[in-house]
Amino acid sequence: MADLRESDALLMGRVTYGLHAAAWPSETGEFADLMNGLPKYVVSSTLENVEWNNSWLINGNIPEEIKKLRQEVPRTILIDGGSDLVNLLLRHDLIDECRLLVHPVVVGQGKRLFQEGSQMERLKLVEAKLFSTGVVALIYQSNKIAE
């Protein structure tokens, strides 16, 4: 929840938007209120409009739009899911921080966080925590960010 409470905006792709927009408007509670209330930026070249409360469409030059957004907000823009969106931003050096909950399991299939060709150089580990389940939480900061 802290992730959301300290965020100024959520950033998501079309698929994640579709799942959220179908579910949250009818939900109540603190998490639902945050989800429904926060500004949401939806990256899509095919959607023509977004109807979920406080949602905004981003298309055209996506990296430039994200750069602008980053300058406008005081705190955090949280990316919600979307391997393709994450990797687009990685290729433009537009990811400031990675928070990973590493699970002790190998599934051998499925979409990976880092796609072929994506790079993050000189990461700085700023926090690490081991949970009793064997899950390890890691926070990495990037030292190479686009201006």
């Binding site: 929840m1 802290a2 992730d3 959301l4 965020s7 100024d8 950033l11 698929v15 994640t16 799942l19 959220h20 579910a23 998490f31 989800m35 994200i66 957004l69 980053r70 300058q71 406008e72 907000v73 005081p74 705190r75 955090t76 823009i77 949280l78 990316i79 919600d80 899911g81 391997s83 994450v86 931003l89 537009l94 990811i95 400031d96 921080e97 990675c98 928070r99 990973l100 909950l101 590493v102 699970h103 002790p104 399991v105 190998v106 599934v107 051998g108 299939q109 499925g110 979409k111 990976r112 966080l113 880092f114 925590k129 949970f131 009793s132 389940t133 064997g134 899950v135 939480a137």
Partner: protein
Amino acid sequence: MGKVVVSEFITLDGVIEAPGGGDSLGEASGWSMPYFNDETQSSKWLICGKATLCSWGA
């Protein structure tokens, strides 16, 4: 100036798909669920409710 943050459940082999359920990975779907407890739920690391979202297919 804000920062862009990515927050993910991830496996040792780097997979972020279907952590909470769905069926896109067959029997491997929902791989995070055995590890989901109060400890992770209450931590600042988690987008609370994410597992619920994921069980809807995210």
